[in-house]
């Protein structure tokens, strides 16, 4: 039996931490969360992870290194699918194996498989597998699972109600701005990790902007939009991004769209392109693509971001109904 479980503050942490936390707490585990992403974590990630991987996966390796020695075991679930007939990125599915092969001196890893592609029933197995490391009491595990699912539902409702995951999980302050309305589209682990995106959201707030992210849009609206595509986007998280971009394209209720992707992201190489093409076709909303990688020079991003914001302000002041080229 283990007591302390280490959870990396990376990748799907922003989507599922309330669920994981509640579950492990209720089976009697003590939860150790890795530190917020910092330079050491980035360097460790780059050091241990395969060169070709994307930045978020490298950072995940760094967060694992950060937890070594702090916990009896690490939680790296094998996430294959989180919804029927959908997948997520293959790197998530191979993550436990990647970690085992790349990071030395690891404590045991809890790598229960989550594969809801065919049905939700598999989730039960995953709970029992993960819980069995902390208690033999099956009833306790099942109760913990129920409470965790409720916590997860509450969390989703809070987010859809307008609170950002970073506000709920990390107590980030969000000012009540009423200036530019800017949509920021990107994977959840890129949007809310301030280190990875060089404090993008904060910089937008400083400029008086109101920020809209895909998580804030009602699930039903995302689903409805995504269903209009000729072919279903079979990656769950990308489908959310695509649905959100379509929503902004249709409502035309934002002044600018920023797409945040990591270098080498296989899925975003397609989805960012599809979002941009759709926005350009249907609207004249300016679109700005930021590609993140492990180079930590911030000046390039700042310059381009300032230029983008200036341009949006200028468009708004002059006449927002006219396109920039008259």
């Amino acid at each position: 039996m283990f007591k302390k479980i280490g959870i990396p503050r990376a990748l799907l942490y922003y989507d599922y931490y309330p669920l994981w936390h509640t579950f492990f707490e209720n089976v009697g585990a003590e939860i150790v969360l890795s530190d917020r992403t910092n330079n050491k974590i980035l360097n460790d990630g780059v050091k241990y992870c395969i060169n070709e991987a994307c930045l978020p996966v490298k950072l995940f390796h760094g967060h694992i290194v950060n937890l070594i020695g702090k916990a009896d075991c690490l939680f790296v679930p094998r996430m294959k699918s989180v919804a029927r007939n959908e997948y997520i990125c293959p790197k998530f599915t191979g993550l436990p194996d990647m970690i085992r092969s790349s990071v030395p001196n690891l404590p045991p890893i809890i790598d229960c498989e989550v594969n809801l592609r065919k049905s939700n029933a598999q989730l039960k197995e995953a709970f029992f597998e993960a819980g069995s490391f902390f208690t033999e009491d099956k009833a306790r595990i099942w109760t913990a699972a129920q409470i965790a699912m409720e916590a997860n539902d509450r969390y989703r409702k809070q987010v859809e109600g307008g609170r950002l995951p970073a506000q709920i999980l990390e107590n980030r302050q969000v000012p009540d701005n009423d200036g530019l309305r800017i949509a920021v589209i990107g994977h959840i682990y890129n949007l809310y990790d301030d280190y990875i995106n060089r404090g993008l959201l904060g910089k937008l707030y400083e400029n008086g902007a109101r920020v809209f992210t895909p998580e804030l849009i009602q699930g039903g609206i995302v689903d409805g939009n995504a269903a209009k595509l000729d072919k279903k986007v079979f990656w769950s998280f990308a489908r959310r991004l695509m649905g959100a971009a379509m929503h902004f394209a249709e409502q035309k209720n934002v002044d600018g769209v920023i797409y945040l992707m990591s270098f080498g992201c296989g899925i975003d190489s397609f989805i960012a392109e599809l979002c941009e093409r759709r926005l350009r076709r249907q609207t004249d909303i300016p679109f700005y693509l930021i590609v993140l990688d492990e180079h930590s020079g911030e000046a390039g991003i700042n310059t381009r971001l300032e230029a983008f914001i200036d341009m949006l302000k200028w468009r708004k002041r002059n006449d927002s109904d006219l396109s920039a080229h008259g």
């Binding site: 070709e52 790197k91 072919k231 079979f234 990656w235 599809l274």
Partner: protein, 371 residues
């Protein structure tokens, strides 16, 4: 309706046989060349994987010759290939090409939709009329793949350098011009006999290298520097782990009938990568183990830059190398066509394998000789 399709190594032999037998009018895209790649990199998203870019180049070059319908296969994830057709549609429509794209896949609309699309492909005739031509095309593809496999064994052992290359070049030039299953089968048989009658050094025990990785870059010589030929001419015997005929048999025929059995590579891969993650990650790891068990001197993993499943496999590969003491060279391919860097690394890898074998032989470690 003039149909075209993307290149992927010798797959055009299969498609050609099928369309010849069905009487469908088609255009084989020009062999992948520098312009194909240039068109692809110009119009495809920067970070898309290499096969998508080359597909786009193939399509544009075929459209220029008069094609108006594109046939490709699809899928439903998690590899990016499943969304290729949608990207193709966007990009070609954006360029103003008026082409229809028919994707052959079983998607959320199920088998009836696939039958519908097959029917469109063959100009409204009944789908059952496809059965015999499909069977013939599959047999021919199997023979074509076996022919290439044979050339990998003959090339390093040939006495007169260049004889295998000459035979194969003639075959590749001719196969596009002969018509129908019977003639293609005859040509393959003829080429096979030519290869078998090539004078070879029977006592030569070449270095043996297994090629693993992502299927497209493995099969399409334009994307892998024609690596089998290059290694063969260095005196190395090559074994490629994936062939299109094998893929079709396993995934479409047996998979479709739910009769697919667990393959040896899956058993070998499981300790390293527990489940299939899409693409060919398990194949890559499992086949490397199998090559090691068959006393291959080394393996080469090839994949396109940003390929998601192969990044996972590549990340785990050092564990396989360590456990089975098999050297693995990883080649990541992208649109940069400077070959010198790759050739230097391949050369050095082969030298290293030769030296390893000499040391092992000197220490009597190698029980089995290369053959």
């Amino acid at each position: 309706m003039i149909v075209t399709f993307p290149h992927m190594g010798n797959v055009y032999v299969l498609v050609k046989t099928l369309f010849d037998e069905m009487g469908v009018e088609y255009i084989i895209p020009p062999k992948c060349n520098k312009r194909t790649l240039e068109l692809g990199t110009k119009y495809a998203p920067e970070m898309a994987c290499l096969p998508l870019k080359i597909n786009i180049g193939n399509f544009i070059e075929s459209i220029e010759q008069g094609a108006d319908t594109i046939i490709i296969t699809g899928g439903c994830g998690p590899c990016r290939f499943g969304y290729y057709a949608e990207m193709h549609k966007e990009i070609l429509a954006g360029l103003g090409y008026n082409v229809e794209i028919i994707t052959l896949e079983v998607n959320e609309k199920g088998i009836p939709e696939l039958l519908c699309r097959l029917k469109r492909m063959i100009g409204g005739r009944s789908v059952s009329s496809l059965a015999l031509p499909m069977y013939k095309a599959m047999r021919i593809q199997t023979a074509a793949d076996k022919l290439e496999e044979l050339s990998f064994r003959i090339r390093p052992r040939e006495i007169r350098k260049g004889s295998t290359d000459a035979i194969m070049q003639k075959y590749f030039d001719t196969v596009k011009t002969v018509y129908g299953a019977k003639a293609i089968a005859h040509l393959i048989e003829e080429t096979r006999n030519l290869l078998l009658s090539t004078e070879i050094d029977k006592d030569y025990a070449p270095i043996k290298i297994g090629i693993v990785g992502e299927i497209y870059t493995l099969i399409e010589p334009f994307t892998n520097l024609d690596i089998e030929k290059m290694l063969g001419n260095m005196g190395v015997e090559v074994n490629r782990s994936l062939y299109i005929s094998h893929w079709i048999k396993e995934h479409i025929i047996l998979g479709g009938l739910h009769m697919r059995k667990k393959q040896p590579f899956e058993r070998e891969a499981e300790p390293y990568l527990k489940t299939a993650i899409g693409g060919h990650a398990q194949e890559t790891l499992g086949n490397t183990v199998l090559y090691a068990k068959q006393h291959y001197d080394g393996a080469i993993q090839i994949y396109p830059l940003t390929c998601m499943p192969e990044i996972v496999a590549g990340s785990i590969m050092p564990s396989v190398t360590k456990d089975y003491d098999i050297p693995v060279l990883t080649l990541v391919m992208d649109e940069i066509t400077g070959e010198a860097g790759y050739i230097t690394r391949i050369d050095a890898f082969v030298d290293m394998l030769r030296r390893r074998r000499q040391i092992k032989e000197a220490n009597n470690e190698l029980v089995l000789s290369g053959h």
